[in-house]
């Protein structure tokens, strides 16, 4: 198109296009969105790969994420330090994994990591309880909560160790009709 943009070099843009599901324009737009979260922090010129991270508290104010009950977990999952501070690479990675063209397998892996609150690579009872409480905003009684968690565990746990490994989770989610259309963020 001929517009001189100085945010990224050509190689960087090509590399991003290879590594994500985005086109050039979308990547530049993403940079704009990233920058507007913290304009004093994020430089306009990314050609020398500055190591800047935007904190969690600013990322979850984005309109795409602010109503999501799992926003903290999502941002933590994609952050390198595990505390939710995203560099631009992580930021792009997050939206690429959650976009419409991202394949089912990739989304399943990230969904598993998001719902695994204690990060032990299993979804245990506690993780289920936390998920449920976030989903219902504490409207269910404790008996109902534990009943639902027990039933979910029973349904999905194939090897009977009362926690869900990735293969259990994947087996359950792959058959879900709504998973792909619901687990999708448009940016």
């Amino acid at each position: 198109m001929g517009n001189k943009q100085t945010t990224f070099t050509e190689e960087q843009l090509e590399a991003f296009q290879d590594c994500t599901f985005f086109t050039r324009k979308e990547i530049q737009r993403l940079h704009g969105r990233y920058r507007e979260l913290a304009p004093h922090l994020v430089p306009l010129d990314y050609t020398n790969n500055p190591d800047i991270r935007v904190p969690l508290t600013l990322i979850v104010t984005m309109p795409e994420l602010k109503e999501n009950p799992f926003r903290d977990r999502i941002v933590e999952t994609f952050s390198e330090d595990g505390h939710g501070n995203l560099s631009f690479n992580d930021f792009v990675d997050m939206f690429s994994a959650l976009c419409e063209t991202s394949p089912r397998e990739l989304k399943t892996i990230y969904a598993f990591r998001i719902y695994d609150f204690n990060r032990d690579n299993f979804i245990c009872k506690e993780d289920l309880k936390m998920t449920l409480n976030k989903l219902t905003k504490g409207e269910l009684t404790p008996e109902e909560v534990s009943l639902v968690c027990d039933k979910s565990m029973e349904e999905a746990d194939l090897d009977g160790d009362s926690k869900l490994s990735f293969s259990d989770f994947e087996n359950m989610v792959s058959k879900a009709p709504d998973f792909l259309s619901n687990f999708h963020v448009r940016i």
Binding site: N68, K137, A176, S181
Partner: protein, 783 residues
């Protein structure tokens, strides 16, 4: 790009001494590695790695490929190889640029995103479908406009030059009236919008453009293109479907992990969603605890039969009503003093039926008491039957009309031929043998045939237009007026209008999608007789997008409960495909069997419409193609081809059945193994009777003291867990890993740490050892 050539050639220069040292095997290995790296580059975005790692790996892989790909081509083919590589790179870059351009061209991204964040993914799926339809119609419009309308306008004869292009003299003073134009008579009827305008000259203009052939090809090509596009989209959606899980298999798990819609960005919608999820959980809990109430099954069956009977009656009634109205409109055609209602009665009735019957079906369906998802399916099926029945009744009635017109035409044709013969006879008589020119008659005065194709085209255009009007009015009154009343009357009304009776409307997804699908069916049917219809549809879809987006944001509230009709979008695509075939039938039938009008349209004068193709083959194509086609059309060739296709279908069907069977068997096997694992872990007893009997034969366990040996075997298991799942970080667990693999071949064998082995009875006695081993052995095969 030139750098690459330089590099590869310099590399190959330096490598030329080493070339002899690169053996075949090494070449093959190098080739394999390069292929692997290329594959990695292509799929790197699908890997669940951190972006940094991806970037680093990508760079490495690209450098590797660049370095060694040049070295692979050697000998004479080197330059050609390097050239091939460069072309491939250019091609990939071109594809990427094209993709970028295409994505930038997609309209209405912002609008759809707004709708998504306010209403969730299901409502937005309607707008995405609408956008897709708009794209398809735009392409069809391009074909029709570019290959049929523009040539006729630019290179054909202008308006008023020949009879078919001129308004008949008696009608000329009313031809510009608004009411006449609204009926698509007058100037509208004798314009490029309709079939009758087109001239039947074999070639027109300097370019010798074959208009009749192009008309026929565009008509067929419309269906071909639509078919291709629909099937391609269905295939793309098919792998999104998610397999064949049973309805109730994972109810709670699915609700837990897949119910939140990540597209929601509006706090009100989010609150709504929280409430609906909570309600859904509570309902499932109640269902779980209650275990189907034992209802009066006879009453339920009776009610269902009665409901179906009522609905069949109403379907039949609506079909008869349409037939009756069409017959009446035929009578009206002979009168001239018609009120507005009588002129548009047919279209109004059809649109009103489409408006009134679906809610009627819904109320009758309350008798049936089905689960909402099943009720939705029944509802959609019934609406489908309603629309289909109406459309086909309309078509049959139209067909009757066409037949009467054909008879009329015969008489007029004979009359006009007779008149021409008389004129020529008189002329030669008067002027003694000179060549008689064409009778000098004003084109407006010539006797016209009834031109049934244009009449059919007019009917379809009127139907589409009235459909548009009714749907826009419905939105205006049903949604907008309702919202205004609820909002403003609420201040002075006794009960809360917003929460209580009328409240704000919800967006009817399935009704709107079906409406869109049927509208498209009508366009497909009518496009052959009215080339302008596709243009009208494009305008309609464009305005619909803006209008409905505004209406949904301004007057609708998010759904309380959402039930999707099917597991994937393919349900509606399947409907579209069905409608495509059903609209193809009448058009193909008329092309093949009905004779075209003798004085209007591009096929006038021919016996059958497809004679144009025969003519082209005879006159334009080389002779051998003609003989080739005549052989291909031979029944002796076609019948075996059809038989072959039938056999192929049968074979593929039986193969797929065999696969399904094998699939079921494997599933059962997996389920059985898992059940065994569970039982082995949770109880002492196996549910498998054979295993139970065998275990009973073992010596009595309670007589044996619990021995320590199992402890070291059990303890490593929990600690080995982290190492098992992160193979790369086998720090502490290295020594234990071997023990664990020996002791428990089953990777998921993690016993509950909290429970001591003793009470479980698994343990210590040597007698149990072989049993355990057997259990372990049993555990091994599933891996």
């Amino acid at each position: 790009m030139c750098d690459l050539m330089m590099m590869s050639s310099s590399d190959s220069n330096s490598d030329s001494e080493e070339e002899e040292s690169l053996s075949e095997g090494e070449m093959a290995q190098l080739l394999e590695e390069v292929e692997e790296k290329k594959k990695l580059i292509a799929t790197i975005r699908n890997k669940p790695w951190r972006m940094k790692r991806r970037l680093v790996d990508l760079k490495e892989a690209q450098e590797f490929v660049d370095k060694f790909e040049g070295a692979l081509g050697k000998g004479k083919g080197r330059k050609w190889f390097a050239y091939k590589v460069m072309m491939k790179k250019k091609w990939i870059k071109f594809q990427r640029d094209f993709e970028n351009f295409r994505t930038a061209c997609i309209p209405w991204e912002r609008k759809i995103k707004d709708v998504e964040s306010h209403f969730g993914s299901s409502v937005a799926s309607y707008f995405i479908f609408l956008r897709w339809m708009y794209g398809m119609n735009l392409v069809l419009f391009g074909f029709t406009f570019g290959l049929v309308v523009i040539p006729e306008v630019l290179m054909g004869l202008p308006y008023g030059s020949i009879p078919r292009k001129t308004v008949p003299t008696p009608d000329q003073d009313t031809a510009q009236d608004y009411s006449v134009l609204m009926d698509f008579n007058g100037y509208c009827k004798y314009s490029v919008l309709f079939y009758g305008y087109y001239n039947n000259q074999r070639t027109i203009g300097l370019l010798k453009f074959r208009l009749p052939l192009s008309y026929l090809m565009v008509g067929i090509g419309t269906f071909g293109y639509s078919l291709m596009v629909v099937i391609r989209t269905m295939a793309k959606n098919a792998d999104v479907g998610g397999g064949d899980g049973d309805e109730g298999e994972f109810t709670f798990a699915w609700k837990m992990f897949t119910s939140w819609d990540y597209l929601i960005g509006n706090s009100e919608t989010a609150d709504n969603k929280y409430a609906s999820i909570t309600t859904s959980f509570k309902e499932s809990i109640v269902d779980e605890q209650e275990n189907q109430k034992d209802e009066n099954i006879h009453l339920r069956r009776f009610l269902r039969v009665m409901a179906n009977f009522l609905i069949t009656c109403s379907l039949g009634g609506s079909g008869y009503l349409i037939y009756f109205v069409v017959k009446r409109s035929q009578e009206f055609a002979n009168r001239t003093d018609l009120s507005w209602y009588e002129k548009n009665e047919l279209e109004l009735i059809m649109s009103l039926l489409g408006l009134v019957c679906p809610p009627l079906f819904e109320t009758i369906a309350e008798l049936e008491d089905y689960h909402p998802r099943i009720a939705l399916k029944w509802q959609l099926g019934r609406i489908f039957a309603l629309f289909l029945g109406n459309l086909y009744t309309f078509l049959f009635a139209l067909f009757d009309e066409v037949n009467t017109k054909l008879e009329q035409e015969d008489s007029i044709k004979n009359a006009s031929i007779w008149a021409m013969k008389e004129y020529y006879a008189n002329y030669t008589l008067m002027l003694n043998g000179t060549d008689s020119p064409i009778p000098p008659m004003d084109p407006g005065d010539v006797i016209r045939g009834p031109c049934w194709e244009t009449a059919v085209g007019i009917e379809f255009v009127k139907l589409t237009v009235s459909d548009i009007q009714v749907s826009y009015l419905t939105i205006l009154i049903g949604d907008f007026a309702r919202a205004v009343i609820v909002r403003f009357l609420n201040y002075c009304w006794c009960w809360d209008l917003e929460a209580g009776f009328p409240s704000y409307g919800e967006f009817d997804i399935s009704g709107n999608v079906l409406g869109l699908v049927f509208n498209q069916g009508m366009i497909w049917m009518g496009a052959f007789y009215a080339p302008g219809l596709v243009g009208i549809n494009v305008l309609r879809l464009l305005s619909s997008m803006y209008y409905q987006c505004w209406a949904v944001m301004a007057t609708n509230v998010p759904h309380e409960r959402v039930f999707k009709a099917s597991k994937s979008n393919n349900f509606y695509m399947g409907l579209l495909l069905l409608i495509l075939f059903l609209s193809l039938l009448p058009v193909v039938f008329t092309i093949m069997t009905l004779p075209p009008s003798f004085d209007c349209g591009p096929f006038s004068g021919k016996v059958k419409m497809f004679d144009v193709i025969m003519e082209t083959i005879d006159l334009d194509l080389p002779a051998f193609l003609g003989t080739l086609f005549s052989y291909a059309a031979n029944p002796g060739l076609i019948i075996p081809a059809v038989l072959l296709m039938v056999l192929a279908i049968y074979y593929l069907n039986s193969v797929s059945e065999a696969y399904q069977h094998a699939n079921m068997e494997l599933k059962k096997k997996m389920q059985m193994t898992r059940d065994e694992e569970k039982n082995r872990r949770n109880n002492t007893d196996s549910t498998n009777q054979v295993m139970k009997d065998l275990e009973d034969l073992l010596p009595n366990r309670s007589l044996m003291p619990p021995a320590p040996p199992p402890q070291p075997v059990k303890k490593p298991e929990p600690e080995a867990k982290p190492t098992k799942t992160r193979p790369g970080t086998a720090g502490k667990g290295v020594n234990l890993q071997r023990d664990v693999t020996l002791a428990s071949p089953n990777p998921n064998a993690r016993g509950p740490v909290s429970r001591p082995p003793g009470p479980r009875g698994h343990g210590p006695p040597p007698g149990a050892g072989p049993g355990r081993g057997r259990g372990r052995g049993r555990g091994a095969p599933p891996r």
